[in-house]
């Protein structure tokens, strides 16, 4: 499971209209979806938000990776659904009501919408672009560099974790064995080498960067500059439009639940 979640965030260098969009605008879009998803707890608008992402995914040609990230989120989604059902079940005096099931489904969908929009963002935005965007938004270079490096190293670490697990399995470690506490302890032989090698790697990276004149001048120049194009303005318009529509609906239009419509 752990691996597939990371796969859903792993950037691959391909070119599509979505990949070429300005990361700042794309981030505003993700935030817009985020806010909209928080505004509603009814299933219909959340469903609309969910479906809204699909054209982006298809246009960007990252369908496979995107599906994998959804599959990775499945475990947590199931967990969210069942805890919601459980607490509503207890809250309703030990009775299962269709409205409660629907509410739980809506909460799960909200989570999935958040995951999928972030997944689309990271799948279609190169770490370099992200760094540029941060820099041009006047974030100090040290911070933007730290951030992009962290993002870039997530898949590397995931791969390393896989190798470490293999190495320990070859020494007779059975990760899936034992009760809950034992299983958590089983991960110690995986986590320690992972952390140690991450620290080692970061020290090496620091030395390599210093030997390439990191921080030698106050003002760095960039090979590429981000600039807004027509597509970016279209996306911005869509984002603002959708957000305004959602806020309007929230304030002035009663949103029916499925149970109200069909029961």
């Amino acid at each position: 499971m752990s691996r597939s979640v990371f796969d859903g965030l792993k950037f691959r260098r391909v070119y599509s209209p979505i990949h070429n969009l300005d990361p700042r605008i794309k981030f505003i879009y993700v935030l817009g979806v985020f806010v909209a998803a928080i505004l509603f707890s009814e299933i219909l608008p959340l469903l609309a938000l969910f479906l809204m992402q699909i054209p982006f995914v298809l246009l960007a040609g990252v369908r496979k990776e995107w599906l994998r990230s959804l599959r990775g989120a499945l475990f947590l989604a199931t967990f969210i659904f069942f805890t919601n059902v459980l607490f509503r079940f207890i809250g309703a005096g030990y009775a299962i009501l269709p409205t409660d099931v629907e509410f739980s489904a809506a909460m799960t969908l909200r989570f999935i919408v958040l995951v999928e929009s972030f997944s689309v963002f990271f799948l279609t935005t190169s770490p370099d672009h992200l760094g540029l965007a941060l820099e041009q938004s006047r974030v100090p270079y040290e911070f933007s560099f730290a951030f992009t490096t962290a993002v870039r190293f997530v898949p590397v670490l995931a791969e390393e974790a896989e190798t470490i697990m293999d190495a320990q399995k070859a020494r007779g470690l059975e990760l899936e064995k034992g009760n809950f506490m034992k299983r958590i302890r089983n991960y110690v032989p995986v986590l320690i080498p992972l952390i140690v090698s991450a620290i080692r790697r970061s020290l090496e990276l620091a030395e390599a960067m210093e030997s390439r004149a990191w921080g030698a001048t106050k003002k760095r120049t960039n090979l590429y500059e981000l600039s807004l194009h027509r597509g970016d303005f279209v996306l911005l318009l869509i984002t603002v439009g959708v957000l305004m529509l959602e806020i309007y609906i929230r304030l002035f239009v009663p949103v029916p639940t499925l149970s109200q419509l069909f029961l």
Binding site: I164, A167, Q168, A170, R171, L173, V188, P193, V196, R200
Partner: protein
């Protein structure tokens, strides 16, 4: 014995790393698997202890199919030492590091103590018994990793890139050590790019390229087969290079051993003097 029957393997990402490999490694054999980066060497050996299961085809270890058993139980017969020791060291002392696998396999406390001493002495690590593995040098960490696998005395041993980061003396020790395992009837498989090391060991050599085996035979034959080596991005061992330039003297091309080379050259020299 390891039997591989027409194995294909595709990674979840979609890369087909093995495209039909058939191979038998008999008990007591010493095999070196060579080939360019990405040829599928590590993918292949990861099938030997069940870390990877074939997409199609069969892998049998001592007549048991790897799909029908766990990595942990296969590991008891097939020890696998990974390339980078930092991918497995995690304990506070070298001693505990070596004990880890032994505990997993359910050795008794008495047996664990005995095996640790044996493995430490074998790899001249005895003075580091209570040291943290993280304080050791790269070469020493590599030996600790090796000791932590050898400790349970597996019948077959797989070493992924064992010579990387080792100085010449350590390489020579590793070679003698493998010879020693051989005399005990153990199977040893190494994955390596180090052509000089393989030439000195003279094992059975398997060349891989793009997920297939392109040559398989005695070290002396394969390492002097320029065409096959070129296909796997491997250069002839230095002695073989010299001998390919000396055919005018009536010398055979297929020489990789330093002592054999010396004998042959001396013979030519003496003949010329007569």
């Amino acid at each position: 014995m390891i039997e591989i029957e027409d194995v294909h393997f595709r990674y979840p990402g979609g890369v087909e790393a093995l495209k039909g490999v058939t191979l038998t490694i008999r008990d007591g054999e010493f095999v070196a698997i060579m080939g360019q980066n990405g040829a599928g060497k590590t993918t292949l050996v990861k099938h030997f202890n069940g870390l990877l299961k074939p997409s199609t085809g069969k892998v049998r270890v001592d007549n048991t199919e790897t799909t029908k058993t766990s990595v942990a139980s296969l590991s008891k017969t097939v020890g696998f030492v990974f390339q980078n020791p930092d991918h497995q060291l995690f304990s506070e002392t070298v001693e505990e590091e070596i004990a880890f696998a032994l505990k997993n396999f359910g050795f008794t406390e008495e047996a664990i103590g005995k095996q640790i001493t044996w493995a430490l002495n074998l790899l001249s690590l005895a003075q580091y018994r209570k040291t943290s593995p993280f304080m050791l040098s790269g070469g020493e960490r590599k030996r600790v990793a090796l000791a932590s696998v050898l400790a349970w005395d597996p019948q077959m041993l797989i070493l992924d890139e064992p010579t990387i980061g080792q100085d010449h003396e350590q390489k020579e020790r590793l070679r003698q050590f493998i010879v020693q395992l051989q005399t005990q009837g153990k199977t040893v498989v190494i994955v390596t790019h180090d052509v000089e090391f393989v030439a000195e060991c003279n094992p059975r050599v398997i060349l891989m390229r793009e997920g297939k085996i392109i040559a398989d035979g005695k070290g002396k034959e394969i390492l002097t087969n320029r065409d096959a080596l070129t296909q796997s991005s491997i250069i002839l061992p230095q002695i073989a290079q010299i001998f390919t330039h000396l055919t005018a003297l009536g010398l055979a091309k297929n020489v990789i051993d330093i002592y054999e080379a010396k004998e042959k050259l001396l013979r030519v020299w003496r003949k010329a003097e007569e």
